[in-house]
């Protein structure tokens, strides 16, 4: 078989453009969040932004390499890659360097990296390969157990490294399982209850009722409007509204005051200046002070003067919120949604099951990072330290997200060749 190089026209340029926009914007945000008048040079590798620039270079280079690799490689080497990342994870447990209480780092030639980041695409590849196997049906109990094992193994090791956030990310592969046959209500009900339960304590109920109504409306548009479906959507919406209203009641009347207080601090409603409440409070102040238009590049005082801890890594969204305001934040969210939609769209048009499953895994992982990270920054979710893909400072994360995404771009770029091959 001849090496099949992707033609420029067969690469999904929209995905690629969003990737570059994100990486560039991320670099500017990191620059803004650690900016000092004394170190204005963006190429200064003694600073986070300088190092991030180097990592962007490395990531783009490896991304290009991936585009040149034979697409069969990923299918063929899915299990070895998975195995390698598992070995690295175990190695970290033994040899790892502890950074900020998490022992998930490994030093290789002066570079520190987090194998947990690479385990994400390793696991995505393995699960795609496993479920795309000939005659594999997800309804099979054995298949379900093996799938669960493939996901839970890296998760467990990472949990042992004290990296709760990274471990949770693997839960996002439930989206893949759902696509491949896991009953949908599992996913849906659990997710909705969790999200709206938390929101009910934070946001005035009226907003939630509106949100539920909008959501129900969207389903109405998307689903086939037969009588049964319409009734399900309306019923679910109403149930959700009742649930949202009852959470507040339960919270105020059933819990003891000190229990309420703890939850409030966790939710950022009560300010606990010494603990995690400080981060969230400062994060909300930074974002809230951005207003509609934002303060402008390098004008964010909360960022510049280090009020938000972990500004360039987990709380990078504060910089967007403060310097680019509501418009910038919403633009970012819409762009992110566009990327996710594009990945799902591309996944569904794949001829190979492997490609499709991998695409869903990519979308799931990216969404999970987005939801947890922004939710935390906005004070809607507890502080769980996971990076915002393509934005947060950190070489391992950037490189692993790049590889994750570019493997999918490579797989997708072969779609036309497949067709051509089929008809030639």
């Amino acid at each position: 078989m001849t090496q099949q190089q992707p033609k420029p026209s067969s690469i999904d340029w929209l995905t690629l453009v969003i990737y570059f926009v994100f990486v560039t914007a991320g670099l500017l945000c990191i620059y803004a969040s650690v900016y000092k008048e004394t170190h204005p040079d963006i190429f200064d590798t003694s600073q986070n932004y300088g190092r991030q620039l180097v990592w962007i270079g490395i990531s783009v280079f490896i991304g290009l390499l991936i585009l040149l690799v034979d697409e069969k490689f990923f299918y063929a080497f899915a299990y070895p890659i998975y195995g390698l990342t598992i070995i690295m994870l175990i190695a970290v447990l033994a040899l790892g360097t502890t950074v900020k209480g998490s022992s998930s780092w490994i030093e290789i030639g002066g570079f520190r990296m987090q194998p947990a980041e690479f385990a994400k695409f390793g696991t995505a590849l393995a699960i795609a390969k496993f479920l795309s196997g000939y005659n594999v049906k997800f309804t099979d109990k054995k298949i379900q157990y093996v799938s669960a094992f493939l996901i839970l193994l890296p998760m467990a090791i990472i949990l042992m490294q004290n990296e709760t956030g990274s471990a949770l990310v693997f839960a996002s592969l439930i989206f893949v399982l759902y696509r491949e046959g896991l009953p949908g209500y599992f996913l849906f009900i659990g997710f909705m209850v969790a999200v709206f339960g938390v929101l009910a304590l934070l946001v005035p109920n009226i907003y939630l009722v509106i949100a539920i109504a909008i959501l129900a409306g969207m389903f109405m548009i998307m689903i086939r409007r037969n009588r049964q479906n319409v009734l399900i959507v309306i019923g679910a919406g109403l149930l959700m509204m009742v649930f949202v209203s009852s959470v507040d009641y339960a919270f105020e009347n059933i819990l003891q005051p000190h229990q309420r207080s703890r939850i409030n601090v966790l939710l950022g409603k009560e300010v606990d200046l010494k603990g995690a409440g400080y981060n969230v409070q400062q994060s909300k102040i930074a974002i809230g002070s951005g207003g509609l238009m934002g303060k402008g590049f390098l004008e964010g005082t909360q960022n510049k003067f280090r009020f938000v801890p972990e500004q360039s890594t987990d709380f990078i969204f504060c910089t967007i919120g403060e310097e680019y305001g509501f418009i910038g934040s919403v633009t970012f969210i819409i762009l992110y949604m566009l990327l996710l939609w594009r990945i799902l769209y591309l996944a569904e048009r794949q001829r190979y099951k492997f490609n499709r499953i991998y695409g869903y895994a990519v979308a799931g992982i990216l969404f999970f990072h987005f939801a947890i990270n922004i939710g935390m920054t906005l004070g809607l979710l507890p502080v769980i330290g996971i990076p915002l893909p393509f934005f947060s400072y950190g070489g391992s994360a950037l490189l692993s997200f790049t590889i994750l995404l570019f493997i999918f771009i490579r797989l997708d770029s072969n779609r036309l060749n497949e067709l051509r091959g089929a008809f030639e």
Binding site: G184, F188, V203, S289, L292, S329, L378
Partner: protein, 618 residues
């Protein structure tokens, strides 16, 4: 379910989360501006620039009050690192327990935050400050803030100066944002009355700080900063030398001296005895000293000349003489006999032996009780009025126009009204229309219910000196070189008695000094007009009272002296007044050493304790 549909369901979930986040963003960024304000509070540190408080001079330009730097030790708890506690305690001169206590106290304070500066120790002594300054680098998280406190160059005039202290919560509230916790404010005397003049205007500097409270530069290059404006300097009308002499003369005596420049109403001296050192009210011991002075049975904090009412005694006869003439019931030639006192029915007001009968001038000179009882009777029983009540009301108005029975409006706090009984007072005691001249006869000689403050006595003296008017007595002559802006301190208040009636009374007062009861006050070469008084005191020995003005033509000083429980006016009050007049007019007070010595050595309160000093020196 169709697998294609799942894509939409998944994406629906993604979008639901995205929409929730957008709503949240809208709440944070568009609907709630508390975050914007919090952000400003985060980074903008408003630093107060304290202005220098205005200086205070005496009428001759001698500096009385200035500012002195004080050093507060400030701590930012979060920044305290690697502290050698024992060394720190040694330098500061505190114990380990004291160290921990201070930290506990700071933590319990209002608005405490580990990243905010808190006062660790107030007002370090200069040696401690010096020692500390050398070691500052070893004590991370601590620094010294410089503020100013008052310093009084002389240890007198405490009641005039007043003092400053930290503002109370109520004052902070009342000031609508001017004062902050720990600011100084004038609490009494000139410091309080002229607080707004003296304090100046605080400046503000906006500093950008980072999360560790480290300075990151000026906010917008300081375009919103305002500089501090120093307080205005004040020149008192007080003559420091005269004031000092007055306090010296009043040592070991209880009483007051008030000296006024008659033409301008400027107070030249205002002595309240016993007194205290104003420097007791600065520094770390302020609170303790205050408590001690407050508990002192001799009441050094009480501002007697302004607040304490006394029966004026014989000096009131001068006013009676004027009112009688104005009411046309008394003429310079009017004579009354004196058979050892005033007798009317069963009532007798005694008098001392003197030639009789006398005309008005002579009656003033010898201070004849019978004479002025007759004057009072003719005023109250005057047929021009339908009844005694109407006549008394007229009399009341006359007396009142001399500034008696009301607050004059002096510019420092603590002034009392004294007491001039209105007709309704007697209505209450005797019933309406059931009292007459004889019932209230003791008013004629300045006794009875009358209560007059030494300030009112001095003011009445100034009225006689001015022949019919006074300018409200005041203590601040100029503010920043310009005359006191209060128009009250320029206006002349005319009495109801015409100028023409004053000469004969003044003649009598001159006689008092030249051949009457006040001969001891005479100074060669200066024409003094005065009047002695011996105010009967129901609670003990009589008060020695004297008032005078000099020189007779174009008077420069009007003075009232009252020495409590010390006997005749001529014994103590008159010599003291005489020495004061001499000091003010000639700049000397030691020409009559025998008199000076006798006054200085006299101890009228500590009878068995010759070492006691009057000025409280803790």
């Amino acid at each position: 379910m169709d697998n294609q549909i799942k894509r939409y369901i998944l994406f629906g979930i993604f979008c639901a989360v995205a929409i929730i986040y957008i709503i949240r963003l809208a709440v944070l960024q568009l609907m709630d501006d508390t975050y914007l304000r919090s952000a400003q509070q985060n980074v903008l540190q408003e630093q107060t620039i304290y202005p220098a408080r205005g200086l205070v001079y005496d009428r001759n330009g001698e500096l009385l009050v200035y500012n002195d730097a004080i050093y507060d030790l400030i701590v930012i708890p979060e920044q305290v690192k690697n502290l050698d506690t024992s060394e720190f305690c040694r330098v500061l001169g505190i114990t380990k327990e004291g160290f921990l206590q201070r930290f506990e106290k700071i933590k319990r304070g209002v608005g405490y935050a580990p990243y905010r500066p808190s006062v660790f120790e107030k007002q370090l002594t200069i040696p401690t400050y010096a020692a500390f300054q050398e070691k500052l680098y070893d004590f991370q998280g601590f620094y010294v803030e410089v503020r100013t406190d008052r310093k009084y160059r002389h240890s007198n005039a405490a009641h005039i100066m007043g003092y400053i202290g930290e503002v109370t919560d109520r004052e902070i509230e009342k000031s609508e944002g001017y004062y902050r916790m720990g600011d100084f404010i004038g609490i009494s005397g000139v410091e309080r009355a002229y607080e707004e003049v003296l304090r100046g205007k605080k400046g503000v500097r906006y500093i950008l700080v980072d999360s560790k409270n480290r300075t990151q530069g000026r906010y917008k290059d300081g375009q919103f900063d305002t500089p501090a404006v120093a307080g205005q300097n004040i020149t008192l009308s007080i003559d420091q030398k005269l004031q000092a002499l007055g306090e010296q003369l009043m040592m070991n005596k209880v009483g007051s001296i008030v000296a006024i420049e008659p033409g301008s109403g400027e107070l030249l001296a205002l002595v309240s005895s016993p007194t205290y050192d104003p420097n007791l009210f600065i520094g770390r011991e302020r609170g303790n000293n205050y408590m001690r002075l407050l508990k002192d049975p001799s009441k050094p904090l009480f501002n007697r000349p302004l607040a304490a009412p006394y029966p004026p005694g014989s000096i009131f006869k001068v006013i009676m003489a004027l009112v009688g003439q104005q009411e046309k019931v008394l003429y310079p030639s009017t004579s009354y006999g004196c058979a050892g006192g005033y007798h009317m029915g069963g009532l007798t007001v005694g008098c001392h032996p003197h030639p009789a009968p006398l005309p008005l001038r002579g009656a003033v000179a010898v201070s004849c009780n019978a004479y002025f009882c007759n004057v009072y009777r003719t005023v109250i029983d005057n047929n021009a009025y339908p009844n005694a009540e109407a006549a008394y009301k007229k009399w009341y108005d006359h007396i009142s126009s001399f500034g008696i029975g009301k607050k004059l409006g002096v510019d420092i706090f603590g002034e009392g009204k004294g007491f001039l009984p209105p007709s309704t007072y007697y209505d209450k005691v005797y019933g309406r229309y059931r009292w007459k001249a004889s019932t209230t006869i003791s008013l004629a000689i300045g006794q009875g219910e009358l209560g007059i403050t030494p300030l009112q006595m001095a003011n009445a003296t100034a009225i006689v000196a001015n022949k019919g008017y006074y300018v409200t007595p005041h203590i601040v002559k100029t503010i920043n070189g310009k005359p006191n802006p209060n128009p009250e301190y320029q206006n002349k208040h005319h009495t109801t008695v015409d100028t023409a009636y004053f000469d004969v009374v003044i003649d009598g007062m001159q006689d008092v000094i030249e051949r009457g009861t006040g001969r001891i006050a005479a100074i060669p070469g200066i024409v003094i007009c005065g009047k002695t008084g011996t105010a009967q005191n129901p609670h003990g020995k009589d008060h020695s009272v004297f008032f005078a003005f000099a020189p007779r033509d174009n008077p420069k000083i009007a003075i009232a002296v009252l020495v409590e429980n010390s006997g005749f006016g001529a014994t103590w009050a008159a010599p003291i007044a005489s020495l004061m007049i001499e000091q003010y007019l000639t700049g000397k007070h030691d020409t009559r050493t025998y008199l000076l010595d006798r006054m200085l050595k006299a101890n009228l309160i500590h009878k068995n304790d010759s070492t006691a000093t009057q000025t409280v020196q803790y």
